[in-house]
Amino acid sequence: MADAVRFLLNDEERAVEGFDPTTTVLEYLRGAERLYGTKEGCAEGDCGACTVVITEPDGDGGLRYEAVNSCIRFLPTLDGRQLITVEDLKAADGTLHPVQQAMVEAHASQCGFCTPGFVMSMFALWHANKSPSREETLQALAGNLCRCTGYRPILDACQRMVAAGEATDSFDDRAQETAERLASLRRLVGLRYVTGGKEFLAPRTLAELTEIMARHPTAQVLAGGTDFGLWVTKQHREFERLVWLGEVAELRRLAASDTHLEIGAGVTWTNALPALERHWPSFGELVRRFASPPIRNSATIGGNIANASPIGDGPPPLIALGATVVLAGPGGERDLPLEDFFHDYRRTDLKAGEIVVRLRVPLPAPGLEFACYKLSKRLDQDISAACAAFAVRVQGGLVVEARFAFGGMAATPKRARLAEAALAGRPWTQGSVEAAVAALARDFTPLDDMRASARYRMASAQNLLRRFYLETSGTAPARIAYG
């Protein structure tokens, strides 16, 4: 028996059927619901015009409000959740939500096309933080483009919306009721949504998942959909059977032992951020510059690894830190060093029916110096032209271990073996670093494309190694502070 997708559209329950499983939430809103407030500016998660908020029980009896990009979010992933759009914020009597009121007062809309998306990002921020700093505001808005205002009035509105002093809104007032209604939508057995010969499966346990994968080894695995979504909206591909990982509890687990951090493949970058930041502040900063909050709220670490893009930001730091990837398939679990997972351009070690289940990252050993750097045209919400991660362990002035990994420098994320070798056993000095810099040129044949020329990639990669040395050895700032 196939299920309908059941969710709350604000406070109205919906049970929908008959839509292709890769119908985006945006298409659904503007189509079936005739709700035109949510806009399409790019259909690839990069402009924020389509931002909506999805709430889920936060486990503490309340709700967690997450901004997401409705343009690349598939309709069946709403199952069991509440969807809030810009139309829902205004009170029945016409009173604007504090966020909306602040936007009006701050003269923060010109053409207004970006505005619904900003309002929804700000609505999520308002629920998360009643006194956001400028830095927190900038981060919260990193996924919303405005071509008209130049942002200053929008930042002002973010101050105003909390200055108004309203501590709660009607969504808070209804939170308990909403949580209960969502609880009543919860499934015991994963969603199986079927339409027009296409199937969307949302297993709730790893066992359920592996069983499905064994039956359908060629099924398409969908996680946050932030890479996958674009295959649909940009390449217009069709898929017969999707297996969504978003409900698999085991994959969303994040745990630390004395020696390792274990990150489930389904952990989103948002949820991974605090732990990564705690152990490796520089990794935390990289994650803050990874896409935008709405993307990070969906995008998973496993998806980033499995997608195997040469310019993905996850692999370089994880490889440099010596992470192991754990895979599970019909034959059980196996693991391998992450660097061996990537074979060639977008080709990995994954066999049919296998999935990435988690990553195991060794916690920093004493003496470990680690940093990762991302270079892009724009500081926030851009794809790396080059991404570099450096880990060295120095003992008695000598380099006992060096692991350097780069993105954007080859067809896969890759270690710089020659540069590492140039340093092994050598003193951690400028002289040996220069030798490693020279070796880097032999390690890589960088990409040459619209994001950067090969010349820039090589020159800046070499300089990033210099920067790493300066940062570990000196006190003078060797780069512009991010925040």
Partner: protein
């Protein structure tokens, strides 16, 4: 009785009329209009070849696909396949030949966009490739232009260059820019009776869409109506381009006899439509030891793309601004519109002005570094005078120059001198981070340089309850034109602005309008609306004088009331009385800008009614290891005359600046070797985000602003000029690059981190070479 001031009169910073609708999602854009039953969705198939003969197009497979209602190629167009705004022969659908990757070849209307797209893939197009021209240099070498070159000159640049004590030559590359309006191009064409067509179009130029749609359909203009309530941004990109979108929708609608919507997705929009022209500037400059510019020979070559579009006017405006604020005694400027096999570039905020201005600012910056002075000193030394040294290369005398005042004010308030010293100190510390500082001025000419365009119409109705409906030829793209004009009308009638209903722009109400462009929206339409209001007001005064038996001089409108001698009635009451007395309560208004003229044959005249001025200081910090940078502070001071709405004007200044900053920093258009644009979505084309806002951002409207020209309430146009305040960011980056290179360096635009790093590396390498050869 104390008179109440009306709400929302002139000079009040009232909110954008749609602000509430923006934040609630209730504002309706073209794609949000309720679709009439049976509406079809269109998809445009684009050329995959930069230059090729179209040997054959076979659409039989397309027609056979489910849901398809109509397929059109050039052969199906019932009228003339031409949307050229200035020059003829600019096809909507490729005919016989394709000239860029992205050119529309055929279009399909089907029951859904998915069906239309899937069907279009079944087309069989046979191309016979021809060699493409992709670079400006290639087109220059081949003398391949889309319009004849234009030259402006005064004196004898050649002779003066020969005699100048110091002389240098060089070139600068100036990148283009995608508009990246958040709302992509969209149109909904709805067939009417008699074969007429109603077109909802996201356009800055409804009259052009109307005319071109009529031309494509082979109809007289009156058979087509074009309407637009608002756009989700335009920036020049919706001036000529919408005729293509609306035209395709209309021809499909005509063929299918059903409504057709065409909305381009972001990639198709960016691949298909024109952008800001990238330029190559080549200069030969003579100056003295003080840094005074004596002579300049400047070539500005623009990438026009495959057709002329507005390129000739854009290159003209680049030439008109290649002096910026500086008097150049002997000067020769020549502009080329280079034909390339790429998108046909078009209007974009500033319309060539920014490129011309960047070229001269670059020259001035180079002079300063050659004579070893602070560039600001050299800028001031070369400023136009107020009574002498005040004639432009096109022989218009500048009469409203307030640069000295603006410069002094900002130099002081930004603490320029002290910060220059601090930065020099910092840069001497040997840090891998270098700082840069720059002050740049701007002077921007206001009026369409094509004189006949400087006209506008408005239509005002006063209803019997005293409510007012306002319509004019200007369009709303976010710039706040509608509210400003409503304020002007509210001021005339002395009624609260909410009493004035702002209605969608439509060719059915005001005909033969010019584009809402050239920053002219308020100047032109404000005057026209004022004229219409005054006409009705004159009738009301005459009526009130008769009715209340007072002389007309005793009738006054104030604070929602009309005072006639001793009598005092509300505006609505008077209107009610006037209606019963059969007074006409509707009027058109018309305005044409006085004084302007330009003779292209002699390249002289008074193309501009007046000039807008502004000044900016920017400070940056650059990472010399990676080329990454941050704008740490920007101070802007801009002259808007007497502001009609300071809140709106401030928004234009800030927004323009950030957009200009994007153009000069992170926004890079990149084509591959086959001529395919690879930066056609926000994942690859990076406009500024919130973090790019300068950490310390101080923006001021010039308090003493007052337009000496007789403009509407003595205000000044503000749409385009502030974009060029961002030049300060570019030259601050160059300043830091020079500091990092230990002398002079060359920086092209946009100054991506890559260009910044490579500029430093190249400058260091050539300094080393120089040092080595000196040994």
């Amino acid at each position: 009785m104390a008179e109440m001031r009306i709400r929302g009169g002139v000079a009040e910073g009232v909110a954008h009329d749609s602000a509430r609708k923006h934040v609630t999602g209730e504002a309706i854009y073209t794609d949000d209009i309720a679709e009439p039953p049976g509406t079809l969705h269109a998809y445009v198939l684009m050329s995959t070849q930069a230059h090729a003969r179209l040997v054959s197009i076979d659409v039989s497979g397309v027609v056979a696909m489910p849901g398809v209602a109509a397929v059109i190629t050039a052969a199906d167009i019932p009228g003339r396949n031409d949307v050229g705004p200035i020059f003829p022969n600019e096809p909507v659908l490729a005919a016989g030949i394709v000239e860029y990757i992205g050119q529309p070849v055929l279009a399909v209307a089907a029951t859904s966009i998915k069906a239309a797209r899937a069907a279009a893939q079944r087309a069989r197009i046979d191309y016979a490739p021809l060699p493409p021209v992709l670079a400006i240099e290639e087109a220059l070498a081949a003398q391949s232009f889309v319009a004849p070159p234009h030259e402006m000159k005064r004196g004898d640049a050649g002779r003066a260059l020969g005699r100048a004590p110091r002389r240098f030559k060089g070139s600068l590359r100036i990148g283009g820019q995608d508009h990246f309006y958040l709302e992509g191009q969209a149109a909904l064409a709805i067939p009417q009776e008699d074969g007429d067509m109603l077109v909802h179009s996201s356009t800055q130029h409804p009259s052009e869409v109307q005319k071109m749609t009529a031309r494509l359909l082979g109809l007289p203009i009156h058979a087509v109506t074009c309407e637009v309530r608002r756009m989700g941004g335009g920036f020049g990109g919706k001036e000529t381009q919408p005729a293509i979108i609306a035209g395709i929708a209309a021809v499909l609608a005509w063929k299918a006899k059903r409504p057709v919507k065409l909305r381009l997705d972001r990639d198709d929009d960016m691949l298909m439509t024109g952008k800001r022209h990238d330029f190559l500037a080549r200069y030969d400059v003579g100056h003295d030891d003080e840094g005074r510019i004596l002579a300049m020979d400047l070539v500005l070559a623009a990438r026009a793309g495959h057709t002329a579009d507005l390129s000739s006017s854009i290159v003209d405006r680049a030439l008109f601004h290649a002096d910026n604020c500086y008097f150049i005694p002997d000067v020769r400027l020549i502009g080329y519109c280079c034909k390339t096999n790429t998108q046909s570039n078009t209007a974009f905020r500033g319309f060539g002005g920014p490129q011309g201005m960047l070229a001269i600012e670059h020259v001035i910056d180079c002079i300063a570094r050659r004579v070893g002075k602070d560039p600001l000193e050299v800028r001031k030394l070369n400023y136009y005078g107020t009574t002498t040294r005040n004639v432009t290369p096109y022989h218009q005398a500048i009469e409203d120059n307030n640069l000295a005042e603006l410069t002094a004010a900002l130099e002081a308030s930004s603490a320029y001198v002290a910060r220059r010293r601090e930065i020099e100190q910092w840069n001497g510390t040997g840090s891998v981070l270098k700082k840069g500082l720059a002050f740049t001025p701007l002077k921007f000419g206001i009026s369409f340089t094509n004189t006949f365009l400087n006209q506008a119409g408005a239509l005002i109705h006063v209803y019997s309850d005293g409510s007012v409906a306002l319509n004019h030829g200007g369009t709303e793209m976010g710039q706040g034109l509608y509210i400003k004009i409503a304020q002007i009308v509210a001021e005339e009638f002395q009624i609260d602005v909410e009493r004035v209903k702002i209605t969608a722009t439509t060719t059915a109400k005001v005909p033969n309008t010019s584009a809402t462009a050239a920053s002219s929206g308020t100047d032109l339409n404000g005057m026209a609306a004022q004229a219409a209001a005054r006409e009705i007001k004159t009738r009301l005064i005459a009526f009130a004088a008769r009715h209340f038996q007072v002389p007309t001089g005793a009738v006054r409108f104030a604070g929602n009331r009309v005072i006639a001698g001793e009598t005092d009635v509300s505006f609505a009451e008077l209107v009610g009385l006037a209606y019963k007395a059969r007074v006409s309560l509707s009027s058109t208004g018309f305005y044409r800008t006085p004084l302007v003229h330009y003779d292209r044959a002699t390249a002289s005249g008074r193309p501009f009614l007046y000039f807008a001025y502004g000044v900016a200081v920017a400070e940056v910090i650059v990472d010399t290891l990676t080329g990454e940078y941050k704008v740490t502070r920007a101070d802007l001071l801009h002259d808007v005359g007497r502001s009609i709405n300071p809140a709106i004007d401030l928004g234009q200044i800030e927004g323009g600046f950030i957009q200009g900053m994007g153009w000069l920093t992170t926004e890079e258009l990149w084509w591959d070797k086959q001529g395919a644009l690879k930066t056609h979505a926000p994942s690859t084309y990076k406009i500024p985000v919130a973090r790019d806002l300068p950490a310390d951002f101080r923006v001021k409207i010039w308090e003493r602003g007052e337009n000496p020209a007789e403009t509407i309430h003595r205000s000044k146009a503000v749409g385009e000029p502030p974009l060029m305040l961002a030049n300060a960011v570019f030259f601050a980056l160059k300043d830091a690059v020079c500091a990092a290179s230990g002398g002079d360096a060359h920086l092209d635009a946009p100054a991506t981190p890559e260009r910044v790093l490579l500029a430093i590396m190249d400058a260091k390498a050539s300094a080393q070479k120089l040092a080595a050869s000196a040994e």
